[in-house]
Symmetry: C2
Subunit: 255 residues, 2 copies
């Protein structure tokens, strides 16, 4: 049995709580939030506290809090020599107070408040300063069904950065697709199967090999047509930059 | 029973052939390719021809050929007053020879040579010049299990353009994610569940509501860190433009 304490009450904290609480060999003994109201719905499942001095002994303390708060809260923890993990993609493991056995438990996924998440689809990137702490942290991830990967701080930072490209920026392209279609009275819904297929394709195929379309084909006629169609200069700039990017990746076709 | 003839031998033609051939109430009576070798694997399933003068009577002729060839081939067809459909997202319905009963059968999906495709996930955008031709064209799409939508040429062009954003450009962001991770010895594979979840999210939620991340939060510190991490100026330009785009969409947070 792994005894876990969660500190923080945001999306990641809440999804982790639910997953830990459901797992057979994990017990969440306390959940800390400055404002206990935000998590009071769970008061029958776990002891909720709002004062760090009330923290009891646990095997692992999870800091699922904002990046800026990690260093400070780690200092305020009223104990030492226990395993303390943060869940951030971009904060270094050494940014936490050195009185702890420090590590990182970074779930590489997008969490929304409403949608339930299956931790089978959430790779946990693990880092621990002490080698001997690694196995219990890995056991924690395995207990909720997640794949795990040992990832150092540099690799984690780069994954976090890449996640912005494949998640936030991709989602913005969906948004532009939405704007473009709606502006002509076409239905964005028609694009949804394509969106899903595009994401599925790269599960097996490299993005390089999965690429298609006018930019890769260097189909100047279609590209010109598209640029003429785009009324919004900002959309045009994105079209031009990403078309250039695809052509940079796939080289110039000989005429 | 709908009698169909396919003209063309590319990805779309091949996937359509397979779907039509499998459907109970469709018969593909002929398949035309200039180079019959490309489709000779199917010679036991359908009559393969390479001469337009050999074309027999059919209910529907499908021109699944490159955009530039559509007008010319439609002229060369040695008959008139029959239903002829092209499958292009960007060619107008009036670009075909007016001797035909013209229409469009545009499958809004990405087709690869290797992967099988389930036409349940391929919305067919239908346009016919003559109203009375619509029902048989729709029946053809329904017979292969596709959802259908009546879409005029302007709407179709805009869908085709939006498809470039949500498919080709999105795939290029996956590619950049690949480049960034590999450059630091991190595994692109770890991003695959995130890629899938990002696409799944907008099946139910608008891209506007699905957005998260540093750009939307106006988290200047993280954005600055990310820009510093990016060694490639081209990646930097894309990061800046798409961050700006997200902030344009989601407005400035008050400080």
């Amino acid at each position: 049995m792994i005894l876990v304490t969660i500190i923080g009450a945001g999306n990641v904290a809440t999804h982790l709580f639910k997953a830990f609480n459901k797992a057979e060999n994990i017990t969440v003994n306390q959940w800390f939030s400055r404002d206990t109201n935000t998590i009071s719905a769970h008061k029958n499942e776990v002891e909720i506290i709002n004062d760090l001095s009330q923290l009891k002994q646990a095997d692992i303390y999870i800091l699922a809090i904002s990046d800026d708060a990690i260093a400070g809260v780690s200092e305020q923890l009223p104990f030492e020599n226990r395993i303390v993990l943060h869940t951030s993609g971009s904060v270094g493991v050494y940014d936490m107070d050195k009185k702890h056995r420090r590590g990182v438990f970074y779930p590489l996924q997008t969490f929304s408040k409403t949608a339930d998440i299956d931790f089978k689809n959430v790779p946990i990137c693990i880092e621990t300063i002490n080698k001997k702490d690694y196995s219990i942290v890995k056991a924690l991830a395995v207990a909720i069904g997640s794949p795990t990967k040992k990832v150092n701080s540099d690799q984690r930072r780069v994954l976090h950065l890449a996640a912005v490209f494949v998640n936030n920026f991709t989602n913005q392209l969906y948004r532009i697709g939405h704007e473009i279609t709606e502006s002509e009275g076409a239905e964005f819904d028609l694009l949804k199967p394509l969106i899903l297929e595009t994401a599925k394709k790269v599960q097996d195929l490299s993005p390089y090999r999965a690429q298609t379309g006018p930019a890769k084909r260097h189909d100047k006629k279609t590209i010109r047509k598209h640029l003429k169609q785009l009324k919004n200069n900002h959309h045009k700039a994105i079209y031009e930059l990403l078309t250039y990017s695809i052509q940079k990746t796939h080289g110039r076709k000989k005429l």
